[in-house]
Amino acid sequence: MLQYVVRRLLYSSVVLIAASFLVFVFVAKGAGDPLAPYYLAPNIDKEGLERIAEAKHLNENVFVRYAYWVRDAVTNQFGTTLLTNEPILPDLWRVMKNTLQLVVVAELLAILFAVAIGVYSALRQYSVFDYTATTFSFLGLATPVFWLALMLQVAVVQIYLHTGHRIFPVANLNSVDPGSGLSFVLDRAHHLVLPVLVLMVASIASYSRYMRASMLEVINSDYVRTARAKGLPESKVTMKHAFRNALIPLVTLVALNFGALLGGAIVTETVFSLDGMGLYFVNALNVADPYPVMAWLMITATMIIVFNLIADIAYGFLDPRVRYE
């Protein structure tokens, strides 16, 4: 088991290093000279730009630049941004913390709802509840996340225009003056309601379908019939024998999804202007600064790899048939 984890991590590191080089070339070459647009601007301090180009080794070839990047990434916490020369890692930690709050809350709630909905739908297949849940999950899967977020904002704004009440904030993580202690936490929670809701809808739609399908497969299985033939009460048949088996595939899906979401709910954070990983990434792309883009991609890829591994380990934990070689 430990051997398996170590080997997987080693393999992943090799992949990650290879990927980092490819991405670096991609970003460095694709963008051309990241400073080019600024030279065209009027009143620009040309010497300042040249100093930046010198300091960032922009005039070297791509291999040398990659080597410098690796050096910075390892020894200097991913280095500094191109124009403002600010250290990257502290910013990344801050936005990651914010993203974690958003994603963890949304995913936990989504899992709870989705499992309950999926299991109940499967147990009451073709009931009104099942059809309703199916309809809503189809709708959820067909609705663009950014549009759902906008519609909630539109609704909140319209309510404000008609009644004068701001029921939820439609942007940012906190008010201008959030206070401290409990009032800060409440202010943050108030701001997170809409984003969490938006993230939940997408996750519930897919997880509940998955859970329903998986549960249906299991409750029609021979071993569930055996459990019933044994004389077990129905609650034990479904919650012990069926549920445990039905949960296995969902765990994998959730772990993978969670890893990807830690890279930020890009769309949601953009619409609600939340200072998280996703918005950080979009802003870095907007200013065409390769350094934060690289740092972001590395951290996110690492997260995904780690959660892939967690998914596999969880799988083995839930299913005794899985053996690590």
């Binding site: 991609f26 067909a142 539109v154 769309v267 995904i304």
Partner: protein, 323 residues
């Protein structure tokens, strides 16, 4: 999703071995006739297909159908809420541009890009899956590792990066102009082929053991011929179903890219871009945000239902409920 249409009873009867296939009157009907019959039983899918065809026609003939041009200004008629007057069914923006017309042109681009994504990703995925499944061993191992790698990428981020650095304007390759929306489609396709590759690989792995493949080999057919003439036709159902679902995903992802501002660029119309333009004009003009989004939902929903119906019709093995 396929179980929505399957009768509860259908599954159970089979499970208890109550129906005999052999006992049923067998008429000489082709596989496709049966598939069509099963599809027609899925009412929602049939209705969705009709809706999709209509929307597709509207998009295809946008210049003739749209009441106004895409960028036609009407400064006497700005910020009009939805009205029958002058056919401004979806309202107008601050420059008096008719949003119904803009949406119709947007449909045209978005559907076209999504179709490119579906065709191209299916071609790439099918080839990779077929090669991996047919040859197995090291080839399979290598290709599947590569597929896993693509699957673990942070998809949207990679798309954004690629779109920002490569997809922002038209390119000319060997004297042929590649329009910008097509480039977005190409970028999407290079990330979307993984699911069909896995499906085809799985099917090929099992088909490889079948007698007709052995027979073809014994008859001296080449590998390419066996793969594409003998084995591939047996995978058409699942491939079509998957391609359908790719169209829906592509529309949603392209809309998100365009919304964030890195997808399809003006002067090309795109539904996602229309929504972000609408957002820029403030939430008072709610119709600018609402209608383009609603159209995306309707298209994606219809494609998903059609995909569901196709799965019932073409790909019985995908049914989740035993039966």
């Amino acid at each position: 999703m396929s179980e929505t249409r399957q009768g509860a009873a259908g599954a159970t009867a089979h499970e208890l071995e109550l129906s005999y296939e052999s006992g049923v009157e067998v008429e000489a009907r082709s596989q496709w006739a049966y598939a069509r019959m099963r599809f027609m039983r899925h009412r929602l899918a049939v209705v969705s297909l009709v809706v999709l065809i209509l929307i597709g026609l509207v998009g295809a003939f946008a210049p003739w159908i749209a009441p106004y041009g895409f960028d036609e200004l009407d400064l006497d008629n700005t910020t009009a809420p939805p009205t029958l007057e002058g056919w401004h069914l979806f309202g107008t923006d601050q420059l008096g541009r008719d949003y119904l017309s803009r949406v119709i042109f947007g449909i045209r681009t978005s559907l076209w890009v999504a179709l490119v994504v579906a065709l191209l990703s299916t071609a790439i995925g099918t080839t990779i899956g077929a090669v991996a499944g047919y040859f197995g061993g090291q080839v399979d191992n290598l290709l599947m590792r590569f597929t896993d790698l693509i699957l673990t990428l942070p998809g949207l981020a990679v798309l954004l990066t690629a779109a920002v650095y490569f997809g922002q304007d038209d390119s000319v390759v060997f004297g042929v102009t590649i329009p910008q929306p097509l480039k977005i489609g190409l970028i999407l396709a290079f990330l979307f082929w993984t699911s069909v590759a896995r499906i085809v690989r799985g099917l090929f792995l099992s088909l490889r053991e079948k007698e007709f493949v052995e027979a073809a080999k014994a008859a001296g057919a080449t590998d390419t011929r066996i793969m594409f003439r003998h084995m591939l036709p047996n995978c058409v159902g699942p491939i079509i179903v998957n391609a359908t679902l790719v169209v829906a995903t592509a529309i949603l992802v392209e809309a998100a890219l365009s919304f964030i501002g890195f997808g399809i660029q003006p002067p090309n119309a795109a539904l996602g871009k229309l929504i972000s333009d609408g957002q820029g004009e403030g939430f008072n003009l709610w119709w600018l945000v609402t209608f383009p989004g609603l159209v995306i939902v309707i298209i994606a929903l219809a494609i998903n239902f059609v995909g569901d119906g196709l799965r019932d019709a073409l790909d019985p093995t995908q049914r989740r409920v035993r039966g």
